[in-house]
Amino acid sequence: MLQPEVIQARRGGFTRRKFIKGVVAAGATASAAGYLFRGSGALSPFLTAQGAVERLVTLNVNGQQRRVEVPRQETLAMTLRYQLGLTGTKLGCDRAECGACTLLIDGVTHYGCSILTHTVRGREVTTIEGLERNGEMHPVQQAVLDEGGFQCAFCAPGFVMSMVGMLDRNPNPTREEAAELLAGNLCRCGDYDKILNTAMRAAELSGARA
């Protein structure tokens, strides 16, 4: 069985160079992860022979190059959690409606549940696990400790990543501006007041450090 897109790429006369960037010939769902919706084992023998290079992607996660086999339809949060073991990124709604999965792509906040892993190839992904540098906590993390910012803290990784993104856009926000910039995260415990205290403290700390 020949992979349809490979055949069509040839027939359609696409230039090879473009398609090295272009075609994602990832193995459908042969990875071992048990959460997968549908395994399509039949594809994998061929894939290994034909497109081993394209099936694997190299992701830049938290400054490391991670090679991983990713189904085309997999979202980044899934890959991080279930293939790379980076479970700091939470999945709340899986629908871009809660912010628990917030992470940084090239320094900008995104919902990891709502972007394909293949879309972020070649871009810098930062998760909550990547904030600590040389054993030193990120100012936002320190602020969480200082303020005791969360209750159950399921929303915390997402909020923390949003705060990191926020400080990049506006290092010195007012409380209103902070609320505005953190409006893409929900807290089920309704602990917004303390979360905003944390955000203001984080701005202070990172200002002091800069």
Binding site: G12, K21, F37, R95, G99, L116, S162
Partner: protein
Amino acid sequence: MAVIRDMIPPFELYQPAEIDDALRLMDQYGDQGWVLAGGLDTFDWFKDRIKRPQAVIDLAAVEEIRGIAAGADGGLEIGAMTSLTDVADHADVQGRYPLLAEAAGLVATPQIRNQGTLGGNIVQDTRCWYYRSGWPCYRAGGNICYAATARSMNREHCIVGASRCVAVNPSDTAPALVALDAEMVVASSSGERTFPAADFFIGPDIDIERMTVLEPGDLLTRIALPAPWEGARWYFEKIRDRKSWDFSLVSVASMLRVEGGAIADARIVVNSIAPFPVRMTAVETAIRGREPNEETGQLAGEIAIEGARALRHNDYKIALTRNLVKRSIRDAA
């Protein structure tokens, strides 16, 4: 609510780097292909397994249609793949088209604006939950509108422009672009076409399964804004349940050109009350030559709701439309 599922069913994925390759792929797959921009409309469909295209054509690598540049005759051109954040933050957009910057900045949440694209925001499908639950309504090729029956929950649906289907256009940038006389530049394998924003959106009377003129194989490449009116006043307001995340219940975008105290020209556009952004031409005509004050606003509001018809749960939209249109004239700055 849709059943939460954890995995998207498989599809072929292409990431072309050139428009031509994207168009070729779109032609090849026809209605079995799906164009992916930011994916914030797309992934719900996929996760709920309601839309199951054979191939997804991810535009992320098509650099040609990302970014903002000067356009012809003092205008501005925005690539379809430009993120809503980039639109809202761009100095030229903020300086010369504040209406668009405001509208783009009020979409959903910061994360969604970082990823969602202007093109995707314009082309996005309706949010009617009967339709999005995958029921066989008119828009899905069936023969019923579940939102228009006597027992439907239709607080978010149409008060004008319905034809069998009563779903509304959810986009915040669409009314702003109509008010700014933007043009949509559409590429397909047979060439490039341009549509005035007002004609780009279509109602269910013309095609009940689509929100825009785009057919399979059509790619929105850029949005061309003409030079803005000199010294124009503008107004944008979006009413929603929560101040973040939510789609508009009613939104209004207006542009006024005021000369010697009187309105010389106007664009008044209301969205989320019809399946398309509604340009209120009758209002525009009626207020020409008048002062942009309370009285004119009152008149405009009354004209705006002529012919509006509420469904069971959305009569508040009539009052809201009247008042927003009034404010959009009285308070334009």
